[in-house]
Symmetry: C2
Subunit: 713 residues, 2 copies
């Protein structure tokens, strides 16, 4: 791959090498780059075998604490009499205390008992099987082929028959529904004992297919992509329960309207009933409903939660391992996402708040069954952090491990131990095996900074806060200064923005969460500024809901507060400011270019929403209601009518096959610009969807960089 | 409409006004510009009423020679008792010697006899009627609605019933077929007496529909566009004859294979039979076949024409008005397109060549029935010209009118007089009423140069020739020098190119055929160079067929001969050369950028063919044969494999709904560039097809100009 930028980078590299500096290239900093993984911090691959922490290597699994081998890949293949495992990282140990490894290749799922030297389970996986979901208890594999659901323990049973097999995807079983909103990621749910399988059925025959074009065919053709747009007819979801013992299927008699949302399915520990968080299409009334798995009848409504803006269920209830009548429930009903204990033995279920404060619980990691406590991540110590805590049922809590950085944790079976991984602004990666009781334990790995080690010029990365446009709210930013920063110079400055809900950009992880491209831009002499505006996640309900029914407005005001701050800095060149963002950030970028045409000289908007009426029902109506209910909000937030405001250089980049923000957004905007006599630039990545991955990501960032080099520098 | 370019142009204008100069803007030079028609040369609107030349004005028609009124719009409306005519330019006078005007509005076709003060015919036109074809003899209007054919004399008769009415366009009647190739422009053919109607039926149910997307719908959707790609299954055409007297339809028993081409339908003067030029799919064997209109039986094969490359019938035979057994036929069988006289009383028809020489007949205008001669246009005097001549059956010829420039002519009923319009490099427009016998007559209008009149700076435009890459063939070019040309300076230079068959860019018309954009670029300091390479029209068979089975190769070699010539000119900056072209010219532009990456710094390719396998059967297989028959030619001429060669800046621009060069070309190329790590730029015009018209044309050329301003200047 030869191109101007790389040649220029090579030239710069040569120059700077003379000064003893190496400059980062896109190949170094992008996931798809040739050298990215060589520069990634050192890592350990870990998993749990009951309460034993296990490290996997390509060849084997070993006890993390003792270093003793557990089992080798070779041994498992030898027992199987064929190569079923190719890499130790693929091994799982689902049975505490039993010498059984689970090995899943593309074509076969096996359980090998290396103690008994026996294959205890072997399931052939059909070629087209998708949505695979294995239940260790029943040793059954659920999967889908085309629109139908199947299970197999070696022998395949077809569970449903009216799923679409003609490519129409009109009726689909066993897949994630509601476009993966409401925390939904899958469509099959094994009961705790594995005897019953709850599954989604989605009928989307009434939803038009967006005309996605496949150019790789001899003659281009379209493929199916049912896409319900805001205010239009939505799909209809139902929930079935298959009984593996008698082969019967029961349909739950779901509450509400056909296009309601059926979210966060949770089995009761006895496997006889399920709790579903049922949300109306208007998304402001959620009921936690319990259904009988055998009859499908509604058993109870444990609680109801309403909001004048919206309720967004994102987490299934989780039963206490030591008390089948109680479960934890997450809600931001008091303004911040916190943990509540539900007593499900009563209707409605009495609720006890376990955590509280002007900070949020980011996730429930699990339970310590011995100490009877809940392990969770929160940003109690700093809004940018995600740290590990334990809280008992009295609400007494303590931290676990380092109270800094952004943590990711997995618990042992009984929850007394945790594999805690984190990075912080100063630590690229730290992996620790800790006691959830004491919060202390053993450091397994602290990775070095390979950029610094290998002599690369690393930009100065800092984080701070400013006041939002409301003058009250704190907003956090990250600033990446150009390498060889000279405070007496004025630098071209690029604001990188996302700005939408469910996400944040600034966090107390390694490099304050800096994206590789920012470091690359810093090597090319740009200052980068990234601010999480109101609407972002993990700052509480009001912060998030400040954007309700008028997406873009307060988000932009906050970004402009950031711009005003930048203008106070002597080293920021206010005449050379650019803006770049993707998806919601593409919406923000385009919107900022049109709304504040004198602030930004250059923008690059990726996969932008242009008019919320072209976005999907679930996300779109949550924040905007329907076009019919909120015509003013839709009209004001649409960029189509403001295409004539474009003054600076704006490049819009999309995946030609984007099925998240469909091309109709950008195509309509380009048409509006042509009609208005303005000249945006445009690029599209054929065959790519909403995000570019692999080598395309490198190409994309070369493209984005070139645009700033052409017009901002 | 505000934008940078216009503001810059305004600034330049202000500067140059001080020097007494006005600079042309895109609004002045583009068809869609606000000021274009104000600067167009003066014109006359003319038509024939038998042998009387008539001028129309918005209010009336008048005798061109005497100036006496013929009839007024007001008078016709008064007779009709309603407003049927809105503009005198809409009037036709189809009946020599009869005081009858034909007036066709969107909803009604009327014949008004202003002498008798009577409406003699009134046909309501249904709202969806397309392909309207009125026969003055029978006073019947043929038209189509959806896929079916109808006729009406006031009362509607449906002729066909199995045409598609479901939007599928699987079966269509009465439309042009074979994608308008082979000179086909329509699908209905009235017999001379108007008693029979021959019509095409096209079955394209076996041809896949290219997925064209309509983004103007609430949710984007596709629409039907059957597009047969080279080497793939083609549509099937048949010819029916409807008898208006007995209501029967006869299907011609056509020769050959189902996917053969049935071109250039011509009725015999007696209306009892038809001649069709039948071409095999391989396009190298054409038979002029006569069919009986009543039985559909083949009556004779008048002639057969073969070629080792291809035969391309483009003109129906035309019967001599004074001898129903003889017709003129055009062929380039001797190497140049010439007129032949066929004696159709014999089989095969004896053929007499009426014109010959190393020049081409461009069109047969008609016949002088009195002198028994054929009136035609040819470039006998200069390959760049199109001048008017008469030839009698002995082959004796004389010129008519000015032997310079490019003429367009219409004959009076008996052909003794001609309305001759031409422009030449020095004459913006000249309209003359001439005798075809003497070649002399009266000048009706000689238009002034409005650009010069209004004080605009007009660039110097010249034409000359160089030798082709073969060292022998003369190639003609046009050169447009920057305004205020200073021979001691070096100018950025843009080669504008088409390069494909069926077209030429350099001709001896006004400004040597300069396109408005070239003048605009000259005002911005660019030198423009336009060369017609081998493969272009009107230079004879070998010149055209030099590209057979390897499109692009010789065309590019010739363009590079042009570049070599440019490099010899001291005022051309060889370091700042750009190239721009559309359609075949987009193919040439992209190909030149990839094949000669050091020659051109910047290219703008519009609607480019990228791989001939994505182009349609008729045009594509004529020049390239099928992908199966010519795999090497397709592989070598494809630009997909050379995407990695891109070095300079290349912007590709397409109509998002291009149904001529479908988007699959450009999308595949962009994908190939991404894979190869090169960075083309891209723009597309949603809702536009192969060409941008109206305001979009102005926007497009602002865009093209900006690209050269950004990267070439």
């Amino acid at each position: 791959m030869k191109n101007k930028l790389l040649l220029m980078a090579a030239a710069l590299l040569a120059t700077n090498s003379a000064l003893g500096q190496k400059l980062l290239t896109l190949e170094d900093v992008m996931y798809g780059g040739d050298n990215f993984y060589n520069l990634a911090p050192e890592n350990l691959f870990t998993t749990w075998w009951g309460n034993v922490a296990v490290e996997t290597t390509p060849d084997e699994a070993r006890d993390l604490l003792t270093g003793k081998p557990v089992v080798s890949v070779e041994e498992l293949n030898s027992i199987a009499g064929e190569t079923i495992a190719r890499n130790g990282h693929d091994l799982e140990f689902p049975y505490a205390g039993q010498t059984i490894a689970k090995v899943q290749s593309g074509t076969k799922l096996s359980l090998i008992d290396w103690g008994k030297k026996a294959v205890v389970c072997s399931i052939d996986i059909p070629e087209k099987a998708a949505n695979q979901d294995f239940c260790p208890q029943s040793r059954l594999l659920a999967f889908t082929i085309e629109g139908n659901l199947y299970i197999s323990d070696g022998e395949v049973r077809q569970i449903t028959t009216d799923g679409s097999t003609d490519g129409s995807e009109n009726i689909v079983y066993g897949t994630s529904v509601h476009r993966d909103e409401f925390g939904i990621t899958k469509g099959t749910f094994w009961s705790p004992d594995g005897k019953r399988l709850a599954f989604y059925r989605m009928d989307q025959s009434m939803v038009p297919s967006y005309p996605q074009v496949d150019i790789t065919q001899r003659i281009a053709s379209t493929y199916t992509d049912h896409y319900p747009m805001a205010g239009e007819t939505s799909h209809q979801v139902s929930v079935g329960v298959y009984d593996t013992e008698d082969g019967s299927t029961t349909w739950l008699k779901l509450l509400g309207e056909p296009d309601d949302y059926h979210t966060n399915i949770a089995w009761t520990p006895d496997g006889n009933s399920l709790y579903i968080q049922e949300l109306n299409r208007d998304q402001n009334d959620m009921r936690l409903a319990q259904y009988d798995a055998r009859s499908g009848e509604l058993l109870s409504i444990a609680l109801e939660e309403t909001d004048d803006k919206y309720v967004e269920p994102l987490h299934p209830i989780e039963f206490l391992p030591w008390d089948a009548t109680k479960a934890v429930y997450q809600s931001q009903r008091d303004g911040y996402n916190h943990i509540y204990l539900l007593d499900l033995s009563k209707t409605p279920a009495p609720m006890t708040q376990l955590t509280s404060g002007t900070w949020v619980v980011q996730s429930v990691v699990g339970f310590n069954s011995k100490s009877k406590s809940v392990i969770y991540l929160s940003n109690e110590s700093d809004p940018r952090r995600s740290c590990l805590y334990s809280v008992n049922l009295k609400g007494e809590r303590h931290s676990i491990g380092e109270v800094d950085g952004v943590h990711y944790a997995t618990l042992s079976e009984d929850g007394t131990r945790v594999l805690d991984r984190y990075s912080s602004p100063a630590v690229p990666r730290s992996i620790n095996l800790l006691s959830t009781d004491t919060g202390r334990g053993k450091n397994l790995l602290t990775a070095a900074d390979k950029w610094a080690e290998q002599g690369y010029s690393v930009p100065e990365i800092s984080s701070g806060s400013i006041k939002a446009a409301d003058g009250v709210t704190d907003l956090y930013y990250r600033m990446v200064k150009p390498v060889n920063f000279d405070p007496s110079r004025k630098y071209p400055t690029v604001v990188y923005v996302y700005g939408g809900p469910h996400a944040h950009n600034v966090e107390a992880s390694w490099h304050w969460g800096m994206r590789g491209w920012e470091a690359y831009m810093a090597t090319r002499g740009y200052l980068l500024f990234i601010l999480d505006n109101r609407g972002a996640e993990w700052r509480g309900r009001d912060f998030e809901q400040a954007t309700f029914r008028h997406l873009g407005d307060n988000e932009m005001r906050d970004q402009m507060a950031g711009v005003e701050y930048l203008k106070t800095l002597p080293f920021v060149d206010a005449e050379r400011m650019g803006v770049h963002g993707w998806s919601f950030g593409g919406y923000m970028t385009t919107n900022l270019m049109l709304s504040y045409p004198d602030a930004f000289k250059v923008g690059v908007a990726g996969g932008p929403v242009i008019d919320w009426k072209y976005y999907e029902v679930m996300y779109g109506e949550r924040y905007m209601d329907t076009p019919e209910a909120n015509p003013d909000g839709y009209a004001r937030s649409s960029l189509l009518g403001r295409a004539g405001n474009l003054k600076g250089r704006l490049q819009i980049i999309i995946g030609y096959n984007d099925d998240t923000v469909v091309p109709q957004h950008t195509l309509s905007f380009v048409r509006a610009c042509v009609d208005a006599g303005t000249q945006p630039d445009l690029f599209l990545y054929p065959e790519d969807k909403h995000n570019m991955v692999g080598r395309d990501q490198v190409h994309l960032h070369e493209r984005i960089t070139r645009y700033f080099e052409d017009y901002l520098k």
